[in-house]
Amino acid sequence: MKKGVNKYIKKAREMLAERERYIKQEVKKMRFDTIAVHGLYSVTEALEKNQGAIIEPIFMSASQAFHDSDEMEAALSYAIPAWTYSRIHNPSISYFEEVLALLEGYGFDGSTGCCATSSGMSAIASATEPFLVKLKKKAREEINFVSTCQVYGGTFQLFNVRRMEERGIECRWVTNPNDIDQWSKNIDKNTRFLYGELPSNPGLVFFDLKKVIDLAHEHGVPFIADSTIATPALLRPITYGADIVVQSVTKTLTASGFGIAGAVISRKNIVSNIPNDAMREDFALYLKQLPNRDIGWCLSPMQAILSLNDIRTLRTRIDILSQNTMKVAKFLEGHPKVAQVNYLGLESHPLYEVASKYLWLVDAEYDERYQMPVNRYGHLLSFVVKGGINSARKMADNLKRIWRATDLGRIKSVITIPAISTHQQMGACARCMACIPSGLVRLCVGGEHPDDIIADLDHALRKVGGK
């Protein structure tokens, strides 16, 4: 390598070593809220690089200029951490990724990395795609993966149509993820990964995460978790051994609803039966530098900073939203027009025990108000109105404050009827398999005062006919 190029590599190594030290000795010792607020953006960095700006700047620039051709060569060959071109990387995106990597890795000894994507679906697609590569020269190669069937409608479509129907990659659905035998029976030598969404949208299915992760690792394959509904404030699958976490950052992580964003977070040295060392060592970095560079589902720097700004208040927000939702769930449970309420925080829920094992408000023991571990169950619930789809529609049409929309995670309460919206494309049969009856209503409770939300629901439910 040229001397000039080496000069840059040497400088970069010193920078990376200092960064490593800073993470290990300082950031890793900070509490969740501190990390959410600051990430790796320090006073030193602000002063040295960003004119002292206390908020991370929005680098709305397509490309990076270099001092000379040596630096360009070093950067483009990934010999130094540069950002080069915003499809590959960008300083603003970096701030955002560092925070998510640290939060998903909170309480985990090892290190984590993150690759931002343009949406939650592109996070799921990019987290799973590298495992579905052909390993043999044969024209047809049996490839499969195993997934809970209680997944978001978009994920179902990706697995079922794009992967299975169009590419012949078999998705083996697990209908009861708490039945470990069902998982086990589906795994064979051609299985590339296990996948689960928990809690699931909209059915609020939960399962014993640790058992499934251990099973995956026994078979030498990674476990990928969609942890969108829980967020790292309630659940960090990597601390239980999960290899990769996907987030639709659009949802609860960014309650403001300012845009679409996704992220893939992985721990170092994932378990995988794909013979690719770079991919195993640092999956997020590999994704960023190679497949996602070539595919191009990059995030906008503007969106990265807007999202980052929301994430800073995650823990307190989730705490309040969870408490509001619990109050609404209890109200619905006692309502004569409601046949069933699915909320993991209700003791009547069949998965209450297993959910309570995993869903904890992070750092509650250091919170002046609690001073001990506290369960919180998030702000998504679903319920069935007596009288089926027509009653559900009637109720939804009579709401005055709660928004009718296909959205969740907002600071504003939003209601959806999945069978005619978010989960319409998967068809009646698949909905049945995923426990989504036609009269199911999904409610994501926002930051309004819960009494007002209850009053709105009560008023709308009164309009529904019957006893």
Binding site: A46, I55, I58, M60, A65
Partner: protein, 389 residues
């Protein structure tokens, strides 16, 4: 460098620390100090640096520097809106008890500011026609500090002889402020013609895409500094860094946009002039426009704004408004889209015909902010809408 090159490159450098080709948006309200002494030095002005975005921000400063270069000014200050910029200029040049002269033909917002707000600050206004030396001399008082004009003026596209008025002002030690919103520095640079201050509604051609509100005032360094200290620092009125960044982005295509705006406007003016339902066309590019010769002298081309009177008055205007399909009914101007406004049925709908005429607006007057669409589509649209009258 030629202005086209400065429009693209001028005043904006690559971010040295990160190499970003396009400078970042410093979306931060505040800036950190190295230590207490550093903060104290910044506050005392002993060291250059950023403290708080109302007082200065790297993204906003880039815009001010770039606009100063384009307008041949020493310095500039960016505001939340064009009106905030105009107000700051007046406040910075006058004390309570002072007097200003404002052109009779002026944007309505500026007119209202002078009528309703300035008296509360003890500043009085005389509205006069600054092209007329006797009128101006009669209006000048010992306490007159500023003359404010537009050229081309809103809405009748009146042309003011900037060099002539500047000389008149300087004979009486009065500052001349030119609102250069309609022309932009690509077409006309008032400071090169002798003006002391230039103001802009950056919302219009500078931003160019109708997605923001912003303003800027430019002039001598000491005036801009005193405007900052006397007005902006304490009153606020600062722009958001993201809007400043969007203006920087819009500015890059100013030259090409203005070329198309001007070409389309000229073609539309000619079309309207030959139309039987049109009584009169106001466009400085037409040879019979009273300011045509002056405009030719002080402007590179004649801008994208066209006004015209319909023979059928208020009713004809309403029909035209309701019949256009490509032109958009909206106030504001300078967007890529063609915007059409009929004061009698829109902004001035409360005025009777006689009130309108008294304020210099014909009931059949229509203002077009000609966009950069295909000219045949625009003329076709006006043609079909006119046929409904």
């Amino acid at each position: 460098m030629h202005i086209e090159t400065n429009i693209v490159h001028g005043g904006v450098h690559h971010d040295e620390k990160t190499g970003a080709h396009v400078p970042p948006i410093y979306m931060t309200s505040t800036f950190v100090f190295k230590d207490v002494d550093h903060g104290a030095r910044l506050f005392k002005g002993e060291e250059e640096g950023y403290i708080y975005t109302r007082l200065g921000n790297p993204t906003i400063d880039l815009l001010a520097e770039k606009m100063a270069l384009l307008e041949s000014a020493e310095a500039g200050l960016v505001f939340a809106s064009g009106m905030a910029a105009v107000f700051a200029v007046i406040l910075a040049s006058c004390h309570s008890g002072d007097h200003i002269i404002v052109d009779k033909i002026i944007y309505g917002g500026t007119y209202t500011l002078c009528q309703n707000v300035l008296p509360r600050a003890g500043i009085s206004t005389t509205f006069a026609s600054p092209g007329d030396a006797t009128q101006i001399k009669a209006a000048i008082r010992p306490n007159t500090k500023l003359i404010l004009i537009e050229s081309p003026a809103n809405p009748t596209l009146k042309i003011n002889d900037i060099a002539y008025i500047a000389e008149l002002c300087h004979q009486h030690k009065i500052m001349l402020c030119v609102d250069n919103t309609f022309a932009t520095p690509y077409l006309q640079r008032p400071i090169e013609l002798g003006a002391d201050i230039v103001v802009h509604s950056a919302t219009k051609y500078l931003g160019g895409h109708g997605d923001l509100i912003g303003g800027i005032a430019l002039g001598k360094k000491d005036f801009i500094e005193s405007m900052f200290k006397m007005v902006a620092r304490d009153i606020g009125g600062c722009i958001s860094p993201i809007n400043a960044w969007l203006i920087l982005r819009g500015l890059k295509t100013l030259a090409v946009r203005m070329e198309r705006h001007c070409a389309n406007a000229m073609a539309i003016a000619r079309f309207l002039k030959s139309h039987p339902k049109v009584e009169r066309v106001y466009y400085p590019g037409l040879e019979d426009h009273p300011g045509h010769e002056i405009a030719k002298r002080q402007m590179r081309a004649f801008g994208g704004m066209v006004g015209f009177n319909l023979k059928g008055g208020r009713e004809a205007g309403k029909i035209l408004m309701n019949s256009v399909k490509v032109c958009t009914l909206a106030v504001s101007l300078g967007d890529t889209d063609t915007l059409i406004e009929h004061p009698a049925s829109m902004t001035h709908c409360g005025y009777s015909d006689s009130d309108l005429i008294a304020s210099g607006i014909d009931p059949g007057f229509v203002r077009l902010s000609v966009g950069i669409e295909n000219i045949e589509d625009l003329i076709e649209d006006l043609k079909q809408a006119m046929s409904k009258i």
